[in-house]
Symmetry: C2
Subunit: 137 residues, 2 copies
């Protein structure tokens, strides 16, 4: 529990970049914007959701992740509890409400850990949640 890295001007710039990437990620979900979502990830990014399952490697596979999530017509409403910037790594603590088109759905309490590159795009992301994080609506 030492000092944080955001105590120099360059450290603050990196952390602002990290924070912006996570905000863009959330906004893409909130606005149901597939192009914006894919643009947040580096071309060769790796995405794991949830941790313990196989990774999606590269923007093409991450597009498949997005399309699978939306295939049923479900809608997504993220609410951010906290965004934490630790150098080029960021933590997103949020609730995702997933509404099924026929009614019902679920609330998911999740934490995503992201590593953000110098271009401001996510290089790797990991979503932590398990069955205890899910409430049926």
């Amino acid at each position: 529990m030492g000092q944080t890295s955001g105590q120099t001007a360059s450290g603050q710039a990196v952390e602002a970049r990290t924070r912006r990437a996570l905000e863009r990620y959330v906004r893409a979900w909130a606005e149901n914007d597939r192009d914006a979502f894919l643009d947040v990830f580096a071309e060769d990014a790796e995405w794991i959701d949830p941790v313990g399952t196989p990774p999606y490697r590269g923007r093409e596979q991450i597009a498949r992740f997005w399309d699978d999530a939306h295939a049923s017509g479900a809608t997504f409403e993220p609410t951010v509890h906290r965004i934490v910037a630790c150098g080029d790594e960021g933590l997103l603590v949020f609730r995702m409400i997933v509404r099924d088109p026929g009614g019902g759905g679920m609330a998911l309490e999740a934490c995503d850990v992201m590593q953000v590159g110098e271009d401001g795009r996510i290089r790797s992301g990991k979503a932590y949640w398990d069955h205890g994080c899910v409430t049926r609506l």
Copy 2:
């Protein structure tokens, strides 16, 4: 947002082991038990707190982390919000109340990500928090 890995008997056993390690970690803080704290970590574990600062490598350096944290006579009261088990990785969402011996202190909202080995010990751990997670008491 696919299936979790805890859906097979072996997956459930791994996730129970992950969860136990994080529970032991919290208990060591709550009971101010240095030996128990060090025993939760593998001999060659790596610990980063907060992410963005240099790692503590190996149990000897992790002992120094503990000793530095306690050098002022501060006491630590963890409250767990959530423990998430994703295969051999775990997420600990918690509040740490740090009380200074002369009065005052801080409340820290933190998320720790841990990887747990087959021996049930933490192989690597990373604590995510920044200045926005700290409230002075």
